[in-house]
Symmetry: C2
Subunit: 339 residues, 2 copies
């Protein structure tokens, strides 16, 4: 019998002792390409099993200067698109053997502290789904060779990869759909302080409308919302109707705002698709519900998450790569609001 007291935590040394090998052998057993014989490996595994040994990730990370953690920056989880994106990221992160360190940011200032804390845990990568990371901080990350990737945002820093839905294609699909439905007065709805992604969608949308008809028979109306959410768009619909303007086709920067706009119009007795056509960007569970049945531009969060992890891993091996812009395929999902 060994003389262990109230030792609560099993270390590699304990396993080594029981298996009659060195600590190094234990470490090698739990490392991918550790050069170790099948025999000793088996012995170690048996001992480890018996003792219930678990690698201490803190010690491992300290030594390797890198943890198996991936930092994720999120915001506004109340938007169904954002929560489904997070869900996809969590799933992908786990399936690749990492763990997610998730932080919510409210103000842009939060982002700095957040990024700093991520580096203090020596994360293997950072995913930014909200906010603009300050250049200096990103530099710090890269110096520690921590890859950074942004989702659906322009980041004008070389070496920071970006994964983004194909906004041009999405806008074209929307324009095409509205035009062929015969819409004459078309609205583009977006948050007044929209991030780049929304702005980009809008510009491509206008360009697409223009391309469709060089002497535009249609008129374009900009609808700006005060808030970037359901309520903001609903209020915008109220204002629009109050102003007496007519629209027969509307494209919204996000699906949640499209639902808000739809409801706002309903309150005024105007319905889609009878009175106007409506298309939103982002396909979320909410949009498919019976009360909305929104026609949307669909882009897969799963594909997004996969590309994000791909960027992270490929850059980890090769930090000097130039910035990459990964596009996520989009498609038009025809539902009730624009059949």
């Amino acid at each position: 019998m060994n003389n262990k007291k109230t030792k609560t935590v099993v270390t590699a040394q304990d396993v080594a002792d029981l298996a009659g090998v060195s600590r190094s052998a234990v470490s090698r057993t739990f490392t991918e390409n550790g050069s170790i014989s099948e025999q000793t490996k088996a012995k170690v595994l048996r001992a480890a099993e018996q003792l219930g040994y678990q690698v201490n990730f803190l010690a491992q990370g300290l030594n390797r200067r890198r943890s198996q953690l991936i930092g994720v920056v999120v915001a506004h989880l109340s938007d169904p698109f954002r929560s489904s994106l997070l869900e996809a990221l969590l799933s992908e992160i786990k399936s690749r053997g990492y763990q997610a360190l998730v932080t919510e940011v409210r103000k842009d200032d939060d982002l700095e502290d957040t990024l700093r804390r991520f580096t203090q845990y020596r994360v293997s990568g950072v995913v930014v789904t909200s906010g603009q990371p300050p250049e200096a901080l990103v530099e710090e990350c890269l110096q520690l060779s921590i890859p950074v990737v942004g989702i659906n945002r322009a980041i004008n820093l070389s070496k920071v990869d970006v994964v983004c839905s194909d906004n041009q294609k999405g806008a074209q699909l929307a324009a095409q759909q509205l035009m062929s439905a015969g819409c004459q007065t078309i609205g583009w709805l977006n948050y007044k302080d929209s991030t780049w992604s929304g702005v980009d969608r809008g510009e491509h949308f206008k360009a697409a409308l223009h391309d469709w008809n060089q002497q535009p028979a249609h008129q374009l109306i900009n609808i700006k919302t005060e808030q970037n959410c359901y309520e903001g768009a609903r209020a915008a619909a109220h204002q629009l109707v109050a102003s007496g303007q007519q629209v027969d086709g509307v494209f919204c920067a996000t699906a949640l705002m499209a639902c808000g706009f739809l409801d706002g119009m309903r309150e005024q007795g105007k319905h889609a698709p009878e009175d106007f056509h409506l298309i939103g960007f982002d396909n979320t569970p909410l949009t498919s519900q019976y009360s909305y049945q929104l026609t949307t531009i669909d882009h897969s969060v799963k594909e997004t998450a996969e590309k994000v992890l791909w960027c992270l891993e490929s850059r980890a091996n090769n930090p000097e790569l130039a910035q990459r812009q990964e596009q996520v395929a989009v498609s038009l999902l025809t539902r009730h609001t624009s059949p």
Copy 2:
């Protein structure tokens, strides 16, 4: 000029050297009750600032046998209630100076691996919002003095605290509302394999109805859904109508299912509150939207998160405490589906 080469990462030793003090002094500077003079502290802070020193949390955690991480187990983020709960938890975790390690579980088996990985990072606590943690694993956590707390679930393990909405009060409020609206045939809708929380709400609901009227003039109908989501409840509504059964009041175990049921009934031409009254449990953004305006039982996710963290921290100081059951206050939020 100092002779540092391509040294990329600043350590406490570097700061100590620059400030002309010992490593210990640096450590004390960044520790709460470190006994250190204002003078040296100032010197250290200046040097740290100058060098951009950041504590390495991996090393700190290794030494303290405890990281500033809190593990959070989630599932089905597509349910708005779950994502808003997560949002509240993230916010509370951050404001208390921790970082959230978030993992999504799908099958119950996942929970075991997840919990194990949490312990490998020596988390300061574990929050279970989904699934039943296996007793053995929880034992392991407690052995490492990692407090575990469950949300809205019964965990029959002593020393695992539980934070739960006041289901009894909620059920009573719902029953009272439906009865005083004059409902005669009342439905209770729940997922067929519901977790304890749903079952508990149902039992209290039945008890409350019974208490209201000893010789019940009303009839109770159990509506079971095949899936624990919007679609499940919508399908249940279809079935209910097809079966020819009539209800004039329905209470749903979750708000998301209430919305699904509402839509399912609408498809059959039945509307609330004209044809039946409807109340859901959980107040989420979705329920307040114009297309639903659901009367719900509200319970604050913020209060929930605060109580969770309180449980975690108090048990950390005192691991031997008996299990605690924290109740979160509920209230009836009267909206359109049962005015």
